[in-house]
């Protein structure tokens, strides 16, 4: 039977020749992931089951990134619980502050996720790895605990929504704009329970960094995963990093899709999502006068070196507006070092921006840039829900890194062409 990319990867991991949408399957997990917010509950659950070891010491990844470096005593206790668990059970992939990064940038960059994998993580943005032609999805702590015990997860095979990208994106349009445009079109539950599978000639114009951004925000459309086909760019990325052998998977011709959406990349302009939903989008030219108090560049969505390069290019020789605090978060230590080597850090600091150690930080209203009542931020992050970055009466606008950087200079939301 002809299968979509997602069906094919799920079938392989369930030891089946084929699967169909709606079926419940028990599938093998290549990697199970948790962070400092979700792992403590999973660890307590794991311990309560009284099993002597995790299913595979090399296939569990624990990353303290949300409130780390520890923001308060309680956060420190949560990370301590993870660290002690990792030591006790010999978890190979525990990443300590100083060697860590934001989980969804760190794990693929470390070569711990490879094409064709099935990955679950107790974090909703686990769907990021779809960029690598892997199936990955977010689950809760209890599911993580069960996977740490058995190396398996039960899943319902999702329908697949096919998204055909065509054309070449214009200036200042990036991966963020592609996914915000799609969410704006289909809504925050437009792909509820579905797999989003990308296809079309336009993919060739999306570098890996952009694909990670697009897959990262599949959850913001309610999707289970967002997956790209394997091509030359995927191969280059994976071959340079993969710590395991991988098998290339492709969708079958004639596979059945629940729906199809076409996106002409050439017709897009930068997109901004207004409060309080990622689907509440407007093209940049229709934003109007929206002053901002804070600009955040970073997160699992847009904290890669390419994102920092784009923002730095806009800022070079310019100053952050008097009324604005700008904070830049490289997503991993490797990216931090690269930004230093390329002189990007100097550009940011000279412009008057703060340059932070990797952390999820303000993206989820954790720490390192919380908004006061009535304040407004533009951020390269993934959610703009009520209270997401701080006070319930603060506001978050979502955009790509070059728009965020331009807005930092302008003191209001705007693009690099206005500078």
């Amino acid at each position: 039977m002809a299968m979509t990319l997602t069906e094919k990867i799920l079938a392989r991991h369930a030891g089946r020749t084929s699967v169909s949408p709606g079926e419940l399957i028990l599938a093998k997990v290549d990697l199970a992931l948790g962070n400092d917010v979700t792992s403590p509950i999973a660890i307590q659950a794991f311990r309560s089951l009284g099993v002597p070891e995790v299913f595979d010491r090399e296939r569990v990844a624990l990353v303290p990134d949300h409130f780390a470096p520890n923001k308060d005593i309680r956060s420190a206790e949560q990370v301590k619980m993870m660290r002690e668990f990792a030591r006790e059970y010999g978890i190979v992939n525990y990443f300590e502050v100083g060697r860590m990064g934001i989980e969804h940038v760190l794990l693929p960059d470390e070569g711990l996720v490879v094409p064709g994998d099935l990955v679950i993580g107790a974090d909703s943005h686990t769907c990021t790895y779809g960029a690598l032609c892997a199936f990955s999805t977010g689950v809760g702590s209890t599911d993580l605990a069960a996977a740490m015990v058995s190396g398996e997860v039960w899943l319902k095979v999702p329908d697949t929504l096919r998204i055909v990208l065509s054309g070449r994106p214009g200036k200042w349009v990036e991966g963020k704009d592609v996914i915000l445009h799609i969410i704006g079109e289909i809504g925050v539950d437009g792909a509820l329970y579905q797999a989003m599978e990308y296809a079309g000639d336009g993919i060739a114009h999306l570098p890996m960094a952009w694909r990670f951004t697009v897959s990262n925000m599949a959850i913001e459309a309610g999707a289970k995963n967002g997956i790209f086909p394997f091509d030359a760019a995927t191969k280059r990325y994976a071959d340079a990093r993969a710590k395991r052998r991988y098998e290339v998977v492709a969708a079958d011709p004639g596979a059945r899709y629940a729906g199809e959406l076409s996106v002409d990349l050439a017709a897009l302009e930068p997109v901004v999502a207004f409060p309080h939903l990622p689907g509440n989008t407007k093209p940049l030219s229709q934003v109007g006068n929206v002053p901002v108090d804070q600009v955040v560049v970073g997160s699992c969505t847009n904290g890669r070196i390419e994102d920092l390069r784009g923002a730095a290019e806009v800022l070079r020789g310019r100053k952050v507006h008097d009324g604005v605090r700008m904070i830049v978060f490289p997503a991993t230590q490797e990216i931090y070092l690269q930004a230093m080597r390329e002189g990007l850090m100097e550009v940011f600091v000279t412009a008057g921006a703060a340059f932070s150690t990797p952390t999820c930080g303000p993206c989820l209203g954790g720490h390192m840039g919380i908004l006061a009542k009535g304040e407004r931020a533009i951020a390269t992050t993934n959610r703009n829900f009520v209270g997401r970055m701080g006070h319930p009466e603060s506001e978050v606008y979502l955009a790509n890194p070059v728009v965020a950087a331009a807005s930092a200079v302008l003191g209001r939301i705007g693009g690099p062409d206005e500078l």
Partner: protein, 167 residues
């Protein structure tokens, strides 16, 4: 097993996300009682102090969208609320709710006919929701027996533990 839930309705709109169900600023703990004190805080500051045991949250589409934090169903359950009825649920929340032993139901027609404060009774086994205040009755697809056992056991882990003992 007693499959009837009773309580008054707390009504909310579409796309109630996990950040308003339990804001991230409280995620430096996983203590249920403490999470319950901040449940729904950023959408309804009165909820946590006024909710009574058995009350039922009623909402529009895509309830629980956003983060995978299991703290969301933990907070709702620990608040005393007995169930969530919505037009639809975000998928990770759906999974987490059952894993935590919080029953949730998709019942679009019922959602339209319920106002805040209405007295509700839900028969999980038969798939019937009665609005006692308005004298209306709605049917929904009952949750499968496996899920009902899961809820009765208090969540996936207890369910696994009980089954282990039984074998």
């Amino acid at each position: 097993m007693n499959s009837e839930l009773r309580g008054k309705a707390w009504k909310y709109g579409d796309d109630v996300d996990t950040d308003v169900i339990i804001p991230a600023r409280y995620l430096n703990t996983s203590d249920p009682a403490e999470l319950a004190r901040h449940c729904m805080e950023d959408i309804d500051a009165s909820f946590a102090s006024k909710v009574s045991n058995g009350d039922i949250i009623v909402a529009g589409k895509n309830f629980g969208c956003g983060s995978s934090r299991e703290h969301a169903p933990i907070a709702i359950k620990a608040s005393g609320a007995s169930a969530v009825v919505a037009r639809s649920f975000a998928r990770i929340f759906y999974r987490n709710a059952f894993n935590m032993g919080l029953p949730i139901f998709e019942a679009p027609e019922a959602v339209d006919g319920i106002e805040a404060g209405d007295r509700l009774a839900v028969d999980m086994e038969k798939g019937i929701l009665r609005n006692e205040t308005k004298g209306r009755e709605y049917r929904f697809t009952p949750i499968p027996p496996f899920m009902q056992e899961l809820v009765a056991a208090g969540g996936l882990l207890n369910y696994i533990a009980i089954r282990k003992k039984g074998t």
